[in-house]
Symmetry: C2
Subunit: 437 residues, 2 copies
Amino acid sequence: MQAVNVGLLGLGTVGAGVVDLLTRNGDEIVRRAGRDIRVTRAAVRDASKARECNTSNIDIGTDCYAIVTDPDIDVVLELIGGEAQAYDLVMAAIANGKHVVTANKHLIALHGNEIFAAADDAGVVVSFEAAVAGGIPVIKAIREGLAGNHIEWVAGIVNGTGNFILSQMMFEGVSFDEALADAQRRGFAEADPTFDVEGIDAAHKLAIIGSIAFGIPLSFDKIYTAGIREIAADDIEYAAEMGYRIKHLGIAKRLPTGVELRVHPTLVSEKALLASVEGEKNAVMVYGDAVGPTVYYGAGAGAGPTASSVVADLIDTVRMLSVDPSGRVPHLAFQPDQITHEPVLGATDFECGHYIRVQVADQTGVMAEITRLLAEMEIGIEAILQKDPSTAEDDARVIIVTKPVREGRLVEALDHIRALSYTREGVVHMRVAQFED
Amino acid sequence: MQAVNVGLLGLGTVGAGVVDLLTRNGDEIVRRAGRDIRVTRAAVRDASKARECNTSNIDIGTDCYAIVTDPDIDVVLELIGGEAQAYDLVMAAIANGKHVVTANKHLIALHGNEIFAAADDAGVVVSFEAAVAGGIPVIKAIREGLAGNHIEWVAGIVNGTGNFILSQMMFEGVSFDEALADAQRRGFAEADPTFDVEGIDAAHKLAIIGSIAFGIPLSFDKIYTAGIREIAADDIEYAAEMGYRIKHLGIAKRLPTGVELRVHPTLVSEKALLASVEGEKNAVMVYGDAVGPTVYYGAGAGAGPTASSVVADLIDTVRMLSVDPSGRVPHLAFQPDQITHEPVLGATDFECGHYIRVQVADQTGVMAEITRLLAEMEIGIEAILQKDPSTAEDDARVIIVTKPVREGRLVEALDHIRALSYTREGVVHMRVAQFED
């Protein structure tokens, strides 16, 4: 089937991330979407500037309007950010019958009501998954995945910069200013951090969340917003003493009298899931009357995560363009003729750490013997415990966590351990896995 | 627009939950979906049995085939469970041109390949969000929300019964058998718990996850599966001593040589997000090359959560039945003419707990005075700290966390506190919120 042509407005970090992702995963994306998705044109401020992606197949110019009016462009991808110019361009794209994908929360929070009305009139779709919580598909979860629920409240850490600052204050014991400077050094915070630390960026996102959760218009200007500048390191310490963590939350809540929409520093129990979201990560908790509490966690910003949501929106748009069943979401995510038969590996091929508990006669040198045996087989030891017998009749126990090793070799080692003269029945073995949050 | 007619196969706990949810949230569902969704017929084993939902508008009989062949039925909802009969009925529904929604992981894991091929041939859609992780929209996240990613691995706690047992063993110090009996008493575990504790149920779900993540056929019979019966309370204790928690995970991982699909007890760092998923809750972690790690958390079973996913699938099906733009997912989740203008409340109306830090001259009786003042205004105290001055020149500090109170009253209390003769400049005030996980 014919490729879908995307016109890109803006080719900065996120734009380059999108071009990169469409190139790198192009084969897999067409296996899922059923059609190729190609960025054919881009408009930038300075066409001579070097770009962070391969632009050899992209016609790069400086005229945004040439793109939104180009009859060969199916979808306009707005990534210039800001408000005024983005608004004009998106409205022009809609007027020209283009579908639009944007990552611009500022634009949607302030002008979404007009933009969506225009899009509905024109019969086009404006997608904005990347506008809230970066790579986490939380708009999809609320709009579609929880569509049967009466959503009671949503509470989210939706600004990674602010969360990074609060995590640093907590764990490094630094002041707000020091943590902010650190965030700026690492590229998490803008030179002007106002939008992040004053809660304006979070309020943009909360306006969108509140609207799709409750069926109200986007109401950015009615959101109560307080920033995190006033939080002292002492407050973080006192809160911790009382069992709380301070997080900068956006909260949308439905009450019989109306709707609460608020962004402010919030003490949450240190046992709450939201309390354990650290650094620049985002998490959104959604409470539906049928499903109860659900949480969506991941990267809230950055080129890769933002591109992830932008490309998902592009794929959704491609699927929507199709009226026949093959254009729907495929049952197994990939088009039926694109299912591959990769071999499923057997247990001996697994590579991971292992937990081993060995019951042994309480005998000097047992631990040394077992560790020597593992060392000979080049199986590294991550942690080791010896438990002495509690009564004279009991056996002792040696408990070992190994470093990652191919399971075939580990099984061989276990056979050797079982064969040792002082090993008792019942060697227990479990696997260990590491999952980078 | 005309209502969508749903025929229900099976009206047990989940079926009653679906009927309840469609009734209770009917107004909101039609505001989202644009069309009414009605269960008009149901087939059950015993038509005379009392049901846990209002069945006054449902034609209840015992003939499942009468439903899958009924020309007035648009969507068949399969909730009888099991494998053989469900397979025959779903295939018959497809042959009759019906769309199907099912919560049956057993059916999909074993027969999904044939079912989806038949559905694609017939031009109908079989939806199964409820088959994995109950109310968490994780199939949607993987199939659509992360569709731009090369998914590297997925690791999930996808069996609530097993996770409940492991949590009980950890926190109550009970044995596997005691924890299982407790789960059975609370209704989390079946009388025959084999599928749950041997990892078969988790493997059903992992087959689905692996397929939609990697584009391979459903491969249930190739999954390495180990249960949790052999885990001793001692192992949980030893693992904890070394900084690990034991979780029963399903892991799908893509390697250059093939695909790993495995269900087994797994030691994970106590600091990992998956380690903090307790009780009957589920969580699925998905690692995509662009987005990095993401986590989806919520209820994995139960009538409400399962109905949440089933109804979301019904709404998706309704939207797909429409070919015009108004049938798509509405921009703001609700149909454009269904946006309501509920009042957005102001800060004085918020009701929550408050953190107050007051700088005071170090003077006997200050604490008593402040607590008396709060008591007079009927503001309860959750926690209180007094920090003595570190040098003679310093002020003392009183830090209070209040119980929930309307913010207007709290602000009034703060004014009184500021007016006290020994209060210094800079009373700090933040809000406290509770979020039930």
